[in-house]
Symmetry: C2
Subunit: 318 residues, 2 copies
């Protein structure tokens, strides 16, 4: 390695509302991190993306002029820097690397993944495919067959087979929580400064588990009626709602996992530590153990894709 | 009848965001109507309610000084004019009339109804109980046993037995539609001026009917992915979302109706004509005929409750 400080790659996870950039060594070590609020949905046009890109990564470019740059996420969407076509399922690192596209003076952008089959509406992801590539790179046990769940604004349940994403389903759980809390009648009873209430969270999860057939549009109303009738303190209602929504995601997701034949395969949670802990607790309520919990695997995924695409400087394999 | 013009009652359906007031004859004829935007959630304190009440009904009071006034809806909630305690299920006209409360110089306010049983979170209604009393008054076929569905922001599925509300379930369908359309990523693809698209509505209903087990948090995402992948025109996505949400309400509500033993009993829709038409169409997709569709039954319900409570002037029964 001739690189100063061992830096081999600049990687960017460029989502809708924010971005995270890393200076990554050839062995996957993150040498430096920067975050910024210039998410893809806040920018419009080549010049705006170029400016944001330079602002976040300019200092690293100056110190390491020849470093390749790779980015994943909504930066590759219709309203991003460059509309990079989705890779269809089954999609693994080779297909994703082959689909990279690069706007002038910009990063190589990872394509999202499209699942279109089973007579159902299509489903799409942008960014999570890179996290999955990273998880598979880091954990051999996930490669042959596994269920990888990425909790978030738009949670993804993914079936992996032979290191490929073969099928996945999005659940808008995090966004439902946010819009209901901020904009619906449910939020009105919830104090802004309420602390966490694990009991109420579990109560919501259990309601979805045991009575999910009553329907989410109905069960949601309990996050109001339990408060109105003083059966739950108002400070507990937000966590009850969170449990109810995550419980409904699990109620459906676990049926999906069973239908995909994954019940005996490893189950991994990939995402922010606190959110994964909520999902792990909720899964326990369904009697399902979590095999792996992984924080941010995007740097590992970006490095694996850059290497697959031959973007890294000639590496010393001695 | 000594009343000028035959007016016997002023009735008000005073909801969260608006109110409707009627001058009602003893035979139920609506002689005049006024609407206003001073919903209960927009007002605070006795003086504000008094002022709004006078503004809307003052001219009628001046012309008919001795007319009684009765109101239903959120005006009787914790944040309304007077917090009128809920009547517990089973609740019929007698219990509701017995629970009327009157703030000084204000209307007699109908209590809401509470369902608290079956080991589930409690459920509440305010306003719909009066619509139901009106429907039962107008239609003898509904009195012995029926399922009355009131579509709306917070739809109510109600089991009636022996002229009593014995059980009900709220579905936040209308509010989910509104917040998702206005505040979520789903609304971003939907043009504001899109016309109705019955085919897309039916497609959404059918998706809930046939694949509801995939879960609402998942299926909602199709209202984006179908647009992103150009499988549905963007102008069709709002009606697809509407169909999906109403379909999920029906998917759960029809199971609830079956569990209550109501499959062979009359099914009535009570509410705004256009919205009831959507529900009727959606019910057809589930193979369920609608026996009755009733527009605004609040005046009939208010009159029946006022009469039950002995509020009407001495009536001429010759």
């Amino acid at each position: 390695m001739a690189m100063v400080n061992g830096a081999a790659l600049i990687g960017v996870d460029w989502g809708s509302t924010s971005l995270r950039a890393w200076l990554i060594a050839a062995d996957g070590t993150v040498l430096a991190e920067r975050t910024a609020e210039q998410g893809a949905s806040t920018l419009s046009g080549h010049a705006a993306f170029t400016a944001a890109f330079d602002e976040v990564t300019g200092a690293w470019h100056a110190a390491h002029p020849r470093l390749p740059v790779i980015a994943c996420g909504m930066v590759g969407s219709t309203h991003g820097w460059r509309d990079v076509p989705y890779a269809p399922c089954p999609a693994g690192a080779a297909a994703l690397a082959a689909g990279l596209q690069r706007p002038q003076d910009g990063p190589h952008i990872v394509p999202g993944v499209l699942f279109d089959g089973a007579g159902l509406p299509p489903d799409v992801m942008r960014g999570e495919e890179t996290q999955i590539v990273g998880a598979l790179h880091l954990h051999e046990t996930l490669r042959a067959a596994s269920c990888i769940v990425l909790p978030g604004t738009h949670s993804k349940w993914t079936q992996v087979r032979d290191e490929q994403i073969v099928r996945f389903a999005t659940h808008m759980t995090g966004e439902l929580y946010a819009v209901l809390r901020q904009h619906s009648v449910l939020g009105r009873l919830m104090p802004k400064d309420a602390g966490p209430d694990p009991d109420a969270f579990v109560q919501g999860v259990d309601a979805a588990r045991d009575h999910g057939d009553l329907g989410l549009p109905h069960q949601l109303f309990a996050a109001r009626s339990l408060g109105v009738t003083h059966k739950l303190p108002h400070a507990a209602l937000a966590d009850y709602l969170s449990g109810l929504l995550i419980g409904h995601e699990l109620h459906a997701g676990l049926q999906w996992r069973a239908a995909a034949g994954l019940n005996a395969k490893p189950l991994a949670l990939v995402g922010a530590t606190k959110l994964c802990a909520r999902y792990q607790l909720a899964l326990q309520r369904f009697g399902i153990p979590t095999d792996l919990v992984l924080d941010n695997t995007a740097p590992a995924g970006l490095l694996a894709l850059a290497r697959q695409a031959g973007l890294l400087q000639k590496e010393d394999h001695d």
